[in-house]
């Protein structure tokens, strides 16, 4: 009984320490990189969340920010970098090209990185505004605090493994219901 109390307090403390000292590896490829730079710079500061110092080595980082389009040629490199990171690790899909492929539905683009690595947070937008990025970062911090990690990949045949907002299409009724649920 007593030992459970201690371990849960320890988990809380670890979660709190991990969420305020994020060492990210920004895997920057394309246009979203400009918004990443804006978010990391002085105007929309990301250092106040503790995530201000990017570690440019996968061995020393715990969050992989995949920023920008991943093409078919780049996919094995991404998988290799992800495999080199040590546990516990989280992945953020920054920009809609990494979430679902964006509007590049062609022979050269990976339709979402969750087909090859498990993704924790999806930040859509083309490119997402820095405020969106900070919102995603705060959601990531909640996830880190609880110690949850995503382990599932997306299977294009069964269409399972992605959040419901990326499935199917946009319908007006769905949108109205979503707006009403927020108020």
């Amino acid at each position: 009984m007593g030992i459970n109390f201690f371990t849960s307090k320890l988990n809380d403390a670890l979660g709190w320490a991990r969420k305020f000292s994020i060492f990210q590896y920004p895997f920057v490829t394309a246009c979203c990189g400009m918004e990443y730079m804006s978010t990391a710079a002085a105007h929309y500061d990301v250092d106040r969340f503790g995530a201000g110092f990017p570690r440019f080595s996968p061995r020393q980082s715990d969050v992989l920010f995949v920023v920008g389009t991943i093409s078919q040629k780049m996919a094995p490199v991404l998988k290799m970098v992800h495999d080199q990171m040590c546990e516990p690790k989280w992945v953020v899909a920054f920009g809609v090209c990494t979430c679902t492929g964006g509007f590049y539905d062609n022979y050269a683009t990976l339709q979402g990185i969750d087909t090859i690595i498990p993704v924790d947070i999806y930040i859509p937008g083309c490119p997402p505004r820095p405020e969106n990025v900070l919102d995603g970062l705060m959601k990531l911090q909640e996830k880190i605090k609880k110690g949850e990690q995503s382990r599932t990949l997306y299977d294009p045949r069964t269409k399972k493994g992605r959040p419901a907002e990326f499935q199917g299409g946009y319908t007006v009724e769905g949108h109205i219901k979503h707006i009403e649920s927020l108020s």
Partner: protein, 434 residues
Amino acid sequence: MLLNVGPSHPAMHGVIRLIMELDGEKIKGVDVEIGYLHRAFEKMCETVMYAQCFPYTDRLNYVSPLINNVGFALTVEKLLGIDIPDRAKYIRVIMSEISRVTDHLTCVGASAMEMGAMSAFLYMIKAREFLYELVEEITGARLTISYVRIGGVKADLTEGFVDKAFKKIADVRKVLIETDELLTRNRIFFDRMKDTGKISAQDAIAYGITGPFLRSTGVSYDVRRAQPYLIYDRLDFEVPVGSKGDNLDRYFVRMAEMEQSLRIIEQCLAQIPDGQVSADLTGCVIAANQMVDSAKMGRTEELIEDEVTLDPTLQGSTRKYYEGINANKKDVVLPAKEDTYGNIEGLMNHFKLVMYGHGIRPPMGEVYFPVEGANGELGFYIVSDGRDLPWRVRVHPPCFAIMAALPKCLIGGMMADLIPTFGSVNMIAGELDR
């Protein structure tokens, strides 16, 4: 020894792979491998209509997106053989020069950061934020704006833009002076950039390099002066030229070009012709059932001048501004929003331009139009077969030629010279790999 400076590397320029052959610290050979961001721009443009290509062109050189938009629009306009009003030309020049300044700010800031000058990077990104606020004011987005249309621009400048722009330009100038104080006389910066990454003028011409890279070797070639487009022949600006072709000259050329671009923007804002047609709309807001009744009776003349209440996001693209910013051609330019939502002729015009199978139909033929991009000559080559989808769209990326010449700049130098040289090349992977 073979060293792989792999696709994902911390110099935040994008994805490229350099396989370097080293002998101790000296570089003996470099093999450049590109293609890690190939997103099939040219293939996608063949599957969508001309007006739908603009979002794809935004993402080519994503630090100066408006220059790509303007280049594509000018090429299609040359193919169609139409001319746009003066106010639209001035607006396009202002937005192009703002994009050029953001590109140079990002380039100099990022290359300073890689050499350890973190503060210079933060100052430049701060200046870039000022310009992004200006761009957002007019176009609605910060980075990927799709603002230019074939035949003009999407919406006019907002009220009070001119004063705001002058204030922000003064702020950017202050940042440029601060960065100049930090970097130019700095011993470490100077030593690392001087005499590294040298290329001679003959080599640069043989490799087909244009832009700041070529101008730093002493050749004064600028598309804005050689083949003036839009209204560059009415503006007074200098083209800075270096002498030695090393990294330090490229840094100076970029800093001087930023100052010249700010001068161009100020001149344009002072010279811009007033495009606002005096509001002579006699109409008033009419109820929908009244409109339907009078239309059924055949009384449509009075309906044409009626005002229609529009969404605030369509501000600037209403009838009042339309004559100043778009060419007067019904088969190319979308009608003003009051006409689209207010009367059937406008609606039909809008449909004929937007539906698949209809749309803009240039005559059969091909054109090439060069524009001065931030990295060099950005040329669009479009082949049209007379239908509504382009047959072939080709971008001549300025940094393609520079990356082909990169081994020539690096061989013979030290390993540590790679970082400033690569930073001053300003390789944008979106443009290189398309």
